[in-house]
Amino acid sequence: MENKHKSARERFIHYFSDESNRRKLAPYISILFGLLAGLILMLLIGQDPIKGYINILNGSIFKGLFEGNFRRLGGTLAIATVLTFTGLSVAFAFKTGLFNIGVGGQMLFGGFIVVLLGNVLTLPKPVHLLVIVLAAAIGGALWALVPGILKARYRISEVVTTIMMNYVAMWTVSYFVRRWIPGHYETESSMIKESASLKFELLTDLFSGSAINLSIILAGLVVVFIWYILEKTTFGYELKAVGFNPDASKYAGMKVNRNILYSMIISGAIAGLAGASYYAGYTNHVKLGVVPNFGFDGIAVALLGLNSPFGVVLSALLFGVLRTGGEYLNAMTSIPKELVDIIVGLIIYFAAATLLIQFMLTKLIKKMKKNDEKHIEEKVVE
């Protein structure tokens, strides 16, 4: 009720007097700082930063949009979809106290299963899709099971084991692809069948033939689902409790090891879905000898998204925009591609420095409050 009569300034002070609100703001400020740093860099190398940022936006969203060509937006969304999955995978593990560096490997293995089943099964499209999506989740989960067991049973840090599993995934997939589903060239698998492709004509047409595919809907569902699990279910409650304090969780009768395992499996399953999104929606076959970079990008996405499911979506979108827009920028100007990478790196760095940012806000609020007090005092004196 009272709020109605408050000025914007008062509401600002009121809102940011609360520490948790200040914390929520931090990522936006770090993005701002990162972009600012990018601006300075562009100036330094003698380029027009305004044009630079307009190009980034054009290249990732707007170019053609008003003529009804949604291709660029579609492409950005497609990238953001994969990043949402990998970011969510990392974030989920973080929420439950685990640091999953192995998302790339899990994604690759999930994707391999997708491509395998997309090749060998003959099913009506809806069924085929259902099968491969489930299989992707299972594949990713299987790959995360090893670090999960090692962590739960032997307390071996998942940081090492997931790194190792990335490499193992690369070679395992390489072996089985060449055995079972070799492609025309030795370095890739054969293409999946149409019925297993997540590309959906209506969607593809709507976005003028871009890579956007059904997995964007899946991503939306999974994000909500994970949010729901974490916030609304006893299962999520347990996972978080174990993540924060395994000892107390044990005292409260929770099965700590089992929860670590579940957590790793779910994180892996989400990574597997990233595999489905990428390999059945984007590439339609597997390339050998590489672990997808999306895993490492996922770490950054998760961290910038404060490990919250919806935060991950936002930061995945930002990353999508910067990545696709960055290339356009590179094409349109002589601003090098590395500049965008530097900006992204800086954003993450500033995100780490949230405390500084919060500290500055705190000071600002204090100052504003003090000013207000003085103001009031003066009035009283009058």
Binding site: I156, V168, W171, I299, L339, D341, G345
Partner: protein, 320 residues
């Protein structure tokens, strides 16, 4: 069999040295309580710095032995400076150390390529000057077995690194400085109340981790790669793995990295070894072998490894 081992050992040592010194660098940082997943980036900065340094010497036609050492030294300095970024975020700003480390990796990749392009117009810098490798070392090489394994085909830089590892062990476990360092990683509140400047020590430790990672990156360049190409092939992450695998103890880390080097050398040589290659085992198997073996070794040796207690926790001096 013995021949095969004789062949593997020197190569395995060479392959493990860059990882080893980087892991030892990570050890300093983590023993002081600061997680450092930015090792890969710090190595990369070292790799770049050494390459660009040598590049200029090459261009000047300078082929002296000290060129390599100057490059290594500069790599250490620049990586050490770069590590201040991580120290500032994780010590002064009390940031999430994982985020900061991730940022270090991203920034290192982008910046080194940026500067390589800017300075040499190519992100690929090939070098003429490289580290010397000694086929034989007087007397030492003649020791049976050990002579073949440790003192044959050895890079001078390997001695340097092994010496540094020894010094690291000495500092961490024998000196007052080490005692203080460890106390910061275990329980910084205790260190603080004993009048130890936790912030300063952690800064030092992170910077040392930068310096040693820089050495690692440089040594990777001057022994293994011979050119810079915008990556250190995941060696920094392997170093992080070795650090954990080695339970945060210098000697164990040396063995952990050597184990890994041994396995990957074994794998690579298996391609070539007449007997082994006659089994016609798919090459993917050999390529995966080092990683799989490391997983097994972890199960056997590293159960319940306990990290420094305060690892990853920003220290809040007065909880201000």
């Amino acid at each position: 069999m013995l021949d095969f081992l004789n062949q593997i050992f020197p190569l395995a040592i060479a392959a493990s040295i860059p990882i080893m010194i980087t892991a030892i660098g990570g050890l300093f940082s983590e023993r002081s309580g600061v997680v450092n997943i930015g090792l890969e980036g710090l190595m990369l900065v070292g790799a770049f710095t050494s390459s660009i340094t040598i590049h200029y010497f090459d261009q000047a036609g300078n082929n002296n032995e000290y060129v390599v050492w100057i490059a290594i030294l500069l790599a250490g300095i620049v990586s050490g400076l770069f590590a201040i970024l991580h120290a500032y975020a994780s010590v002064s700003l009390k940031a999430n150390q994982v985020i900061s480390g991730t940022a270090i990796n991203m920034l290192a990749t982008a910046l080194t390529i940026f500067f390589a392009r800017f300075l040499t117009r190519s992100q690929n810098i090939s070098l003429l000057n490289r580290a010397d490798r000694y086929q034989k070392i007087p007397i030492l090489s003649d020791i049976p077995l050990i002579g073949n394994w440790l003192f044959t085909d050895i890079y001078i830089t390997s001695f340097f690194v092994l010496l540094l590892c020894g010094i690291a062990w000495f500092i961490i476990f024998k000196t007052t400085h080490g005692l203080r360092l460890r106390s910061c990683g275990e329980y910084p509140q205790a260190a603080d109340s004993a009048g130890i400047n936790v912030v300063k020590l952690r800064y030092q430790a992170v910077i040392i981790s930068g310096i040693l990672s820089g050495f690692g990156g440089a040594i990777y360049i001057v022994t293994i790669a011979g050119e810079f190409n915008g990556s250190v092939n995941g060696f920094g992450f392997l170093a992080l793995g070795a650090l954990i695998f080695g339970k945060w103890k210098p000697l164990n880390i040396v063995f952990a990295t050597f184990f890994f080097g041994f396995m990957s050398t074994f794998a690579s040589l298996s391609f070539v070894n007449e007997v082994i290659s006659s089994f016609r085992i798919p090459y993917q198997f050999y390529n995966a072998l080092p990683y799989v073996m490391t997983l097994f070794a972890l199960v056997i040796f590293s159960r319940n490894a306990s990290a420094p207690m305060a690892l990853g926790e920003p220290y809040d001096a007065g909880k201000r």
